[in-house]
Symmetry: D2
Subunit: 357 residues, 4 copies
């Protein structure tokens, strides 16, 4: 008999339900008896002891559903100080719930912040298995995360739609794609949508280089230009600032987001009509794409296997086309980013895409 806790934490994304279904089905189909407790709204449910005993029926029909049926919330603490905020020791509270329910293992689905907390709980002696959830694909230790490909699809659809209107009006269009620190999503959606310029946090841009590219296109007869811009795109000047200087500069920042800043600069330097579109949270929502459904199901199934074997302390990942278990201490606190010298960036440049560098 195994008693399993399960929670989803951080920003939601597609295929969270598919992944949980994968864990549950692989456990329920095993010979051993299994009880699965679902904690509501992420770590909050664990802290405050809010949970539900889940049955087979809870996991039926959820493969194709977006969001998470358990609810989610942001990570409960970013700093050690946070741990005791709100008058309770959150780590102690989580441990208490875990032991009270006599759990054998806690399955945690989340991204970077979530994994820091998961690793902290592991250090505290809890048995943890995690699954890599994020539309950013920025988790260390795995080639892919679920949610990413679905988000690429939605961001690409937005660029596709903008393409026809941009072409009809001869305009410059910026589509702002999610990703504050990491550009995988923007890079892939930009390439898939046929963006002419792609700006990502890993490759600081030079506004003059961007304007030059746009003008070259106009001279060649292409009356429109599309930019795929990550939320965290940064100029060379800003990238050169110290963290403190940058923070100070940002205090006076007047734009709703970086795309509006870039739009204004292009407008001023080129005189062209520039429009901004921000698909925003739609990128996290809707039904997961088939790729994510299969991938999340597989990850879930592998998590089930680890639990049945009693192997804890791992994130299930995917490396070189094989399912792998990655020690949580190797994952926590690390970020996977786009290498400006990687093959895909070089290929994009060969296709004529500018990164504004």
């Amino acid at each position: 008999m195994k008693r399993i806790g399960m929670l989803t934490s951080g920003g939601d994304c597609q295929a969270l339900n598919a992944a949980m279904r994968g864990v549950a089905k692989s456990l329920f189909n095993a010979k051993e008896d299994v009880e699965i407790y679902g904690f509501l709204n992420g770590y909050q449910g664990l802290i405050h002891g809010k949970f539900r005993l889940l049955t087979y029926a809870d996991f039926s029909g959820i493969l194709t559903k977006g969001g998470t049926f358990l609810g989610s919330s942001r990570t409960p603490f970013k700093t050690i100080q946070d741990i005791e905020a709100d008058g309770i020791d959150k780590v102690a509270a989580m441990k208490q719930t875990y032991y009270k329910l006599q759990l054998d293992c806690l399955v945690i689905l989340g991204g970077n912040g979530t994994h820091k907390t998961a690793n902290l709980l592991r250090e505290q002696g809890l048995n943890i298995v995690t699954l890599p959830k994020t539309i950013d694909n920025d988790l260390w230790g795995t080639d892919m995360t679920f949610g990413f490909q679905s988000a690429v699809n939605i961001a690409t659809e937005a660029i596709d739609c903008i393409h026809t209107t941009a072409a009809s009006h001869g305009r410059v269009f910026i589509v702002e794609v999610m990703g504050h620190k990491v550009g995988f999503l923007t890079l892939n959606a930009g390439m898939a949508g046929g963006a002419d310029i792609i700006l990502i946090p890993e490759i600081p841009y030079d506004i003059d280089s961007i304007v030059k590219k746009i003008q070259e296109r106009h001279e060649r007869g292409s009356a429109f230009t599309i930019l795929a811009v990550a939320e965290g795109a940064i100029s060379k000047e800003d990238a050169a600032l110290s963290k403190k200087e940058y923070k100070k500069k940002m205090e006076k920042y007047k734009y709703p987001s970086v795309s509006y800043e870039i739009a204004e600069k292009i407008r001023k330097k080129s005189g062209l009509d520039v429009r901004v579109t921000v698909p925003g949270h739609t990128q996290r929502g809707g039904s997961p794409c088939p790729y994510d459904r299969v991938f999340a199901s597989r990850l879930g199934s592998e998590a089930g296997k680890l639990i049945l074997k009693g192997e804890y302390g791992f994130m299930v990942g995917y490396k070189n086309r094989e399912m792998v278990k990655v020690p949580l201490e190797e994952v926590a606190g690390k970020l996977k980013t786009v290498d400006p010298k990687s093959s895909i960036v070089k290929e994009a440049k060969m296709l004529g895409i500018s990164f504004g560098d």
Copy 2:
């Protein structure tokens, strides 16, 4: 032998190409010889004599393509003064092109602004047939315009995506839908997406009524609320201002759009986490939906019929499930809006949807 000019004017939308294909195919398939001249970038092409003689091949394979292969531009004049701006008499220039090409008729695809100009050209003695293009469905004289249903689909998809993320995080979400003066698009996308609150220009809102609705939902256990808000949504106080007072107030307006204003107000009054999503120009783009393809093709075909019969001065419209010809002077300058007492609004209210009134 007929010589036809064709142009698309105003903001682009889906099925412009389908409509032009409809006109062209019905003419090319007729017994009479027909030449079709396509003017580039809307009235600009007519003013400056920029055109192309179009062949059958130009209309092949464009049924499913978004945008307009002729390009578009905003209406050349909003006031009489505009007519002679830029040192040329634009009306005279348009007439000159028309007569120089010895056109029998000009087919114009556009929305409200476009129809004003089209009617002015008619008054100047040109033969005009128009087609009702707009995602807003706000043209007088027709029950439906092409582009509308495709835009409803895209706006609804955005709400669908937001639904899963809103539900997962227990948030209030505002999806801003296109429509500065008219709410058909927001009303339909809101109902299709299952929005809880729909705000449209025709029904001024009371912020307290909105907050109350949200709080009632939370009390009943619905942890999230979705608002579909038209770009032109307006509060009761603002609606009560004179045009002058309102204009003055707007000069100091600090929000990127009305949704951000409403979001801030809800946040302040309820303490809840409110997010805004703006699908923006994506609503005009992408492949037209089957409804719009059929509808635009039919309108185009009827336009062809009028031209072959030599019946000019009409917009082809759709009334009570019949194709009709509407005199241009009846269309120009009028707006079709959502009647707050109409059947669909009452039905929406019966479903529990609040209009904030």
Copy 3:
């Protein structure tokens, strides 16, 4: 206090859940107390007394879901003899359940067969309100049925996909669209997908006319041709047969469906490579399109209004852009079909589409 029964009958389609949600929400939001009993699997649930008392939660989150959460089954009897088949008097059994539950009204969602039975129950003294459900749009008394537009979308997507492969290989492709007796679905999907030939039951075809059209296209340089063929497409010879002769002929029919017969004939007469694609039941499935979601919600809401007023014996329909109540005796047993002389057929012909006539 009102006690309502509800059931869905006949082939399922999109927006059944949306329609039921519309009925339920409008009733639950009314001042009066309402109990809604859902019968499982269509009339079978009514006959055998299988039902569930439904709550607000049952109707939450189902707006976008395909199928019917109550389940469905084919109409229980086609002939009077059927009524007492299986050893029970089915009509008596249905009445018994109705009176046992002390129902005020039965809400029935279905198509043609369903409406015959609904009217029979009305004649037996039961209070009935119905909603027009069918992908065929062949119900008398309403301009539109829900499910139709969603099915058009899926059939059109199939034609869209076939378009690229047909063009790449220079092939003749037949896409078989649902519709045994009525061609609205094929006509609309065919026009939306840019089919070159459309065959519907209402317009018998001449195989030579079809082959001629294909050959003309090939001579003009169009290396491929796409036919949208209704399941019930019929040749002129077969249409001229008496019912008895036709039935006899069909006994020896060797093709899986009419498309394969037409394919073989074209192959023999033209020597061309002809392929058949049958999207089949996919046309009934998946999430309803926004149009159907709005339309079904509105119909449901109007049904709620009738029930609250105690007006029974009607189908809620849509005529000339108004919601109407149509007496059941006017609906039952009648079929709405494509008029070969209607405006849309003429327009399609002007676009160059052949109906094989």
Copy 4:
């Protein structure tokens, strides 16, 4: 100065245009002058000297378009005898065109049959670079082929649609997925669509095992079952036959395809209502998904790189997340199939999916 020939051969699929655009853009953006000749309809264009000099404009706007703008045809010969069929030596004819145009290299996009011919041309001294195109993902030497993920999406959508209708009627549904010899497509679409039973050529099925699974589901209260069946699914008895015996048996085969055979067997053994759906060629068509657009663009770009370096005789492939060049002699004549003992099959079984074995 480089002179390049290009052709697409075999069944078309999504992202062929994207791949060609990738090759062309990377070459046109290089410093060296490049001429690209496009051969029409596959090897037929090469044999008969039908080609077009392609410009930058030919590759503009085709990233998102399905099919191949060059047209395609089946491989010109399956046996040595075919080479001289039709009174011409096809290999000699192809060589003649190649030398007449003074080509430096021939870029060939295709699947298994295509690669055999490509390798033969290489053996004859022509410079060849190939790209792996097939919805089956069965090419040796690469982890992935373009077209595959798009086909998975379409097949999954079909299963999604069938899901709602199967659930509403309590039916057994078979969705037949493309793949005569290899099951990757069926396996992935089946897992993504939540199929209960997946039958692929690599894992022969036992009909009794299938019926047992269906009955177990019904006993547990699941009123419906969905099977994803590859075109090449085979029973254990048939798999045990010699090639000769099997061929003989197939001569009398009475079903349109294997799904109908399986449907009849299930019907007979279980008495249940079983329906078959065949999405067929739709799986090859429509706009490529973002994954395929990016992947095909990258492959094309890498092909451009090889050509610029003068490295010939390779297929560009993708192994362990790196772009690789695979010698054509290693690719030709080999098939990549689903390993019944692979991780993904085991995971699927843990999820409760039956393979009928």
